[in-house]
C-alpha cells in the first residue's frame, strides 16, 4: 500500500485522579498510510478520543502517563518537545472535535480564528496572504467569505462544524483526525458535512482518522476499520473483511452488527449487547469482554487472548483462534 504515515506501537495511557488510576488505552497498535482513511469504532469510553489526543500529544500534562510509541513520519510524538509539537499541530496533523458549540472561542471573530492557524505556520507571509487563504478555505467549506467578521454565536451547529473543518484544513495537513464530527449534528447536516469532508480529502489527499460509533458512516467513508473495546483493539482490518459477515468476527463485533437494524431484512427485535462497558479503573481479568460475551469460555476469564491474523484481518479472541485451528 502507500508509504507509512503513522505508526502506533503498543500505546498505553493511564489517568490518575484523586489517587484512582484509570487504564484508558491498553497496548494499542495501529498503522496509517498517506491518503488512507482509518475508522475507529467503539462505545463511548473505549479510549478512542484518548488515542487521538495522544497523536497530537494534547493529553493533560499532570494526570496522564503514556507507554509505547506514536511515530508520525518517523518522529515519536509522545517524546517530542513542545516546540516540535507546535510545528506539527495545525500544519501536519489537525483535529476536529465533537461538540462544535463549545469548540470555537466565543469572543473572537470566525475569520480571526481561522487566520490564527494560517499565520502561525506562515509567519513569513504577509496579512494579505492570510486573508486570501481564509476567504479561500471558507468558500471551500461552503461559507460566504463576508461572514468571517461575525462571531461564532451568529452560526448554527452545522455551520460551526464547517468552520472547525476550515480551521483544520487551512494548512493542508497530512493527517486529519475527526473525533465524532457529526454526532452533535442532526442527520441531514451530517450528510452534507461528510460529503464535503470526502471531497476535500480526495482533493487535498489528506489521511483521515475518523472516530465514530456510527457503523454506517464507517462503511461508506473509510478504507480500513479498527474496533476498540475498553482500551484495546479487538478487531481491525480492511472494510471488506470487517463488513463481510461470512468471516469469523469477535463476538463484540457480531453484537455490534446485530444491534443495527437491516432495512433489507424484517427483524422484529434488535439483539442489544447486555451489560455495560467495564470501569477503566478496575478492568476484568483475561479478555475484557468476557463478562458480556455469550460464547465466554473458562480460558477467556483467565488469559488475555493474543491478537491473531485470521484471513488477513486481526482478531483478539480465543474462540476465533480455536475455531481457526479446529
Amino acid at each position: 500500500m502507500g508509504e507509512k504515515l503513522l505508526e502506533i506501537k503498543d500505546l498505553s495511557v493511564r489517568y490518575t485522579t484523586d489517587g484512582v488510576i484509570a487504564h484508558a488505552v491498553n497496548h494499542v497498535n495501529l498503522e496509517l498510510d498517506k491518503g488512507e482513511i482509518l475508522g475507529i469504532v467503539g462505545e463511548t469510553g473505549a479510549g478512542k478520543t484518548t488515542t487521538a489526543l495522544g497523536i497530537l500529544n494534547l493529553l493533560p500534562r499532570y494526570t496522564a502517563q503514556t507507554d509505547g510509541e506514536i511515530l508520525f513520519n518517523g518522529v515519536n510524538v509522545l517524546r517530542a518537545s513542545e516546540k516540535e509539537m507546535q510545528k506539527i499541530r495545525g500544519e501536519h496533523i489537525s483535529m476536529i472535535f465533537q461538540d462544535p458549540m463549545t469548540s470555537l472561542n466565543p469572543v473572537y471573530t470566525v475569520g480571526d480564528q481561522i487566520g490564527r492557524v494560517v499565520k502561525i505556520h506562515n509567519k513569513e507571509k504577509g496579512k494579505e496572504f492570510v486573508e486570501q487563504r481564509v476567504d479561500e478555505i471558507l468558500n471551500l467549506v461552503g461559507i460566504p467569505a463576508e461572514r468571517k467578521v461575525e462571531y461564532p454565536f451568529n452560526f448554527s451547529g452545522g455551520m460551526k462544524q464547517r468552520i472547525m473543518i476550515a480551521i483544520a484544513l487551512a494548512c493542508n495537513p497530512e493527517l486529519l483526525i475527526a473525533d465524532e464530527p457529526t454526532t452533535a449534528l442532526d442527520v441531514t447536516i451530517q450528510a452534507q458535512v461528510i460529503s464535503m469532508m470526502r471531497s476535500l480529502q480526495r482533493e487535498l489527499g489528506t489521511a483521515v482518522i475518523l472516530i465514530t460509533h456510527d457503523l454506517g458512516l464507517v462503511a461508506n467513508f473509510c478504507d480500513k476499520v479498527a474496533v476498540m473495546y475498553s482500551g484495546e483493539i479487538i478487531e481491525s482490518g480492511a472494510i471488506e473483511q470487517i463488513f463481510d459477515s461470512t468471516n469469523p468476527h469477535h463476538p463484540y463485533v457480531v453484537g455490534l452488527f446485530g444491534s443495527i437494524p437491516k432495512i433489507t431484512r424484517k427483524t422484529k427485535r434488535l439483539t442489544p449487547i447486555e451489560g455495560l462497558m467495564p470501569n477503566p479503573a478496575s478492568l476484568p481479568e483475561g479478555c475484557k469482554f468476557h463478562p458480556r460475551c455469550p460464547y465466554c469460555m473458562d480460558i477467556c476469564k483467565t488469559e488475555e487472548p493474543e491478537a491473531v491474523i485470521v484471513n488477513d484481518h486481526l482478531i483478539k479472541c480465543h474462540r476465533c483462534v480455536r475455531k481457526e485451528e479446529a
Partner: protein, 291 residues
Amino acid sequence: MNVQTMKKRGQFAEVWGRLRKNKLAMISLSVLLLICMAAIFADLIANYNNIVIKQNGAERLMAPCAQHWFGTDEFGRDIFARIIHGARMALLMGFGATIISVAAGLILACVASYFGGVVDMVIMRVMDVLNSVPALVISLAICSGLGAGTWQLIVALSVAGIPIHTRMIRSNALGVMGNEYIEAAKSQGASTASVIFSHMVPNIASIIIIQITSTVATNILMGATLSFIGLGVKPPRPEWGLMLSSGTDYMLKNPHMVIFPGIAIILTALSVNTFGDCLRDAFDPKLKGKA
C-alpha cells in the same frame, strides 16, 4: 453550576467524605469548633459579672502573666476572659446576622422566582435599589437611626447582606425552576409551599451553605469595623472590634492589648474563610481538578 439532583442524603454524606480527606478543612473546622465551644461555655470559663467586667485598678495594663494569660486592659479587666466572651459576640454577629439575611434572601428569592411576573419585578427592583447602596453605608444609616447597640448592629449587618443573598439565590433558584420536575410537581397540584420547600430549597442548599460561610467572615469584620468607629457594640460589653479600638491608645507601650483581639478576629475570619473554600471545593469537585 450544575445542580446535582442526586438523593439529598447521598450528597451530604459524599460531601462530608471529601471534606474529611481535606486536611485544611479539618484544621479550620476544628478552630471554628474551638471558638464555638468558647462562646457556648463562656460563662463557665469566666463569670461575666465578677471577671469579665469587674474592674480592678491595681491590676491595670498588666502584661501577659500566669494570672492573666493575655494580660489586663486599661480597667484592669482580664483580656483572656473578655476574648472568650467576645467570641460569643463575634459568632452572634457573624452567624446570627448572616443566617437572618440568608433566610430573608431565601424567602424573597423563592417567592420571586416561584411567582415570577409582577412580584418578581417588584422584589428585584427593591433589591436593585438596596444593592446600589454600598453595604457599609446601609449599616451607617441604620446605626445612626437606631443608635448604637448590639441588636441594632445585628439588624444593620443583616439588612446590608439581604440584597446580595437574594440576588444570588434567585439566579440559582431560577435555574432550578427551569427543571421539569418543578412543572411536574405543580401539575400534580402540589401546594406552593411544598413545591418551594420540598423541591427548590434542597437543590439550592449547596449554594446557600457556601453563601453562609463566605458572608460570615465579612460580617465579623464589618461588625468589628462598626464597633471601631463607635457605632457598634457599647461598652462595657466585650467585643473584639471595641477592644481593638480602645487598645490603639495603649499600642505603643502595652501592645498586648491590641495583639490578642486582633489575632482572635483574624483566626475566626481565616478559619471561616478557609472552611468556606474547602466546602465549595467539596460541593463542586470539578473546580478543584487539574488543568
